[in-house]
């Protein structure tokens, strides 16, 4: 599905078997995390709303595996996947979703605001496109501190129509900031198809406005995502500056808690489900004899178990004390 003429090395090939398996593991964790969140949703236990990442796992895992722990990411409202891929603790995440006091945000943020600063995840954002300038700013820190770090700024196809998209990419382009703008084009912004919200077929074409590289890739192919982000992360570190990567993928579930999905057909959903990024990657690993069928099952089961533990942890955790309410507004 790649359409641009970039010479992108297959850096994935050179990864250790462990690292390759770790990527599968993370994808499973994300998948099953969302399964459990969904159950909470059905049981009415997710207060407010949340946005499931199911079907888009290759995008977060491929991209984040290609950068270092010290590198930053800026996430979106659909952030569980990014958060897990960047190394968050599942227990603490799940606790946050239930609004518990030991969650990532002490129960103050919830799904739309989980941040894990220890793993350099600068957080989800309830404002569509709201993190695009923040990503540029984090990259600016990297430039000013000359720490050789990079930033991935995730955002959706819908977000690419917000004004800040334009301002932030322009700023990043002229300052050659080490930030990879990664558009997860899952075909819809809430109910609005990309076909309806823009007059072009590829978000990546918008790179032309900033004189930067723009590339569209198969966002369901974790290897392709990994290689592409590796390539551009290296270029960021070399001082070349920002890039716009469009990762084509699909969200399997409705937009948020309630969504009758009148705007798309069941068939369309089924077609995309056939392109399941986990299945694709698992098959690759088996074909290439990196894992066996059994190992795959075991990896998945381990993920499931971890998630179940997270659920148990979250359920038995305490709600925050009400005395917490006016704390954390200001820092000393």
């Amino acid at each position: 599905m790649k359409e641009n003429n970039f010479k992108i090395a297959n850096k994935f090939e050179k990864l250790s078997r462990d690292k390759k398996i770790e990527m599968l593991r993370k994808m499973y964790k994300i998948r099953h995390f969302e399964v459990e969140v969904d159950k909470f949703v059905l049981r009415g236990m997710i207060y407010g709303t949340c946005h499931l990442y199911t079907g888009e796992e290759a995008s977060a895992v491929g991209a984040i595996s290609a950068i270092d722990e010290t590198d930053y990411i800026v996430s979106t409202h659909r952030g569980h996947g990014h958060c897990i891929a960047k190394g968050a603790d599942l227990n603490i995440m799940m606790a946050e979703l239930l609004g518990k006091g030991n969650g990532y945000c002490k129960g103050k943020g919830g799904s739309m605001h989980i941040a894990d600063l220890d793993s350099n995840n600068l957080g989800a954002n309830g404002i569509v496109g709201g993190g695009l300038g923040i990503a540029a700013g984090a990259a600016l820190t990297c430039t000013l501190k000359k720490n050789n770090r990079v930033v991935i700024g995730f955002f959706g196809d819908g977000a690419s129509n917000e004004g800040l998209f334009h301002e932030a990419l322009n700023l990043a382009s002229i300052w050659k900031l080490p930030v990879i703008y990664l558009c997860e084009n899952n075909q819809y912004g809430m109910s609005t198809s990309v076909k309806e919200s823009m007059n072009i077929d590829r978000v990546s074409k918008r790179a032309a406005s900033y004189g930067i590289d723009g590339i569209t890739i198969d966002g369901n192919n974790v290897i392709e995502v990994y290689n592409t982000v590796s390539h551009f992360a290296k270029r960021c570190r070399e001082g070349v500056g920002t890039v716009l990567i469009e990762s084509l993928t699909y969200r399997w579930r409705g937009h948020s808690k309630h969504d009758s999905q009148v705007y798309r057909t069941k068939e369309e959903v089924e077609e995309w489900k056939k392109l399941d990024p986990i299945k694709k990657y698992k098959e690759y690993l088996i074909e290439n004899k990196l894992i066996t069928e059994e190992e795959d099952k075991e990896i998945e089961n381990t993920a499931i178990k971890e998630i179940k533990n997270a659920v148990a942890f979250a359920e038995k955790s305490e709600y925050p004390d009400i005395s917490e309410v006016e704390k954390d507004v200001y820092s000393d």
Binding site: Y47, G48, T49, G99, K100, G101, C105, G107, K108, G109, G110, M112, H113, N125, G126, I127, V128, G129, G130, G158, A159, N161, E162, G163, G189, M190, S191, T192, E196, S197, M198, V262, Y263, Y319, P320, I322, E324, V325, E326, D328, V329
Partner: protein
């Protein structure tokens, strides 16, 4: 008599004005086939078609800008901002364009438009989807700000807002949308409630409770309970629109009761009730027998967790305690 929810009342108002007046149209995110984030526009797309129910990309500044431009040139747009918190993304278009165009052009332009948007907390949407930002709008000359508390008012105020020749911010409380507890008889025919006129929702003689939006409902509940259980007779004044503000109605009430408690859902510090309290402290000072007390949200972003959110937003208990305090009974 048929009863409508708050959401149904607003939807009926939209349908009726759109039928009556060709110049009225809607634009907003996911208001088409999807029917809007709260389902309020469901069916309107089918009824009026995509030209008059215009789905926009996620681009709040342009959508408000487009509303302004179409209003100045003769249309009566109704722009939907999915959550009032997103007004921030379009803030310049609201504050520096919609609100100021008429004045800075020497009164030669008209900007008849409505921005309708869901506001308030209590549903677990956290910091960026739960705010009560009415004080920000109310401070800007050129805007009108409407905060209906019940279905009947919502319909009448909405129709009045569409026919008003100025930019009107129409704040719909999301807690009220579908709660049948607040359903009410709403006449089928079109009617308007003038912007700038409050209403005494319950008369009383011991203390004045002035409130807006959902807090009117909470205040009424408390007032009724206090009447039943403690023979305390509060008057509940619903401002209905905060800009223009019907301060006379409030002062009239305070003249009778001598005591004022202001209830709002916004953060206390710099909240709109500061304006109400100050005007009373200036123009109704002599009628006051006790300090004016404000009951409002705590001064923090809206937290996610239910327990914290409930602690932040004024509860019935908090309202009650403050009433008793002002009455010297606490």
């Amino acid at each position: 008599m048929r009863e409508l929810t708050y959401l149904e009342a607003i939807k009926e108002a939209i349908r009726q004005v759109m039928k009556e007046n060709e110049d009225v149209f809607m634009l907003g995110e996911d208001i088409g086939l999807y029917g809007g984030s709260f389902g309020l526009t469901r069916g309107l797309f089918e009824e009026f078609g995509k030209d008059r129910i215009r789905n926009t990309p996620i681009a709040e500044a342009a959508l408000i800008g487009a509303a302004v431009g179409s209003a100045v040139t003769g249309m009566r747009p109704i722009a939907e901002l999915m959550f009032s918190d997103f007004s921030t993304v379009a803030w310049d278009q609201i504050v520096n364009q919609a609100a100021k165009i008429r004045y800075q052009f020497g009164g030669k332009a008209k900007v008849p438009m409505v921005i309708r948007t869901a506001h308030g907390g209590g549903m677990g949407f956290a910091a960026q989807h739960s705010q009560s930002l009415e004080a920000l709008f109310a401070h800007i000359p050129g805007l009108k700000v409407v905060m209906p508390s019940c279905p009947y008012d919502a319909k009448g105020l909405f129709i009045a807002s569409v026919y008003d020749n100025n930019p009107v911010i129409f704040l719909e409380h999301k807690i009220l949308y579908n709660n049948k507890k607040y359903s009410q008889h709403v006449p089928e025919e079109m009617y308007t409630i003038p912007l700038g006129k409050g209403e005494v929702k319950k008369s009383g003689k011991d203390l004045t409770l002035v409130a807006t939006s959902y807090m009117v409902q909470k205040s009424l509940e408390v007032a009724n309970e206090l009447k039943d259980k403690m023979q305390i007779d509060c008057e509940v004044v619903d401002l209905r629109t905060i800009k223009p503000l019907d301060i006379d109605l409030v002062i009239e009430s305070v003249k009778k009761t001598g005591r004022l408690v202001c209830v709002e859902e916004a953060c206390s510090f710099g909240g709109f009730m500061g304006e109400v309290a100050s005007q009373v402290a200036e123009f109704g000072f002599d009628y006051l027998d006790a300090p004016i007390v404000r009951v409002a949200s705590k001064n923090c972003p809206v937290p996610y967790s239910y327990v914290l959110e409930q602690e932040m937003i004024p509860s019935s208990d908090r309202i009650k305690e403050n009433i008793l305090k002002v009455l010297g009974k606490a």
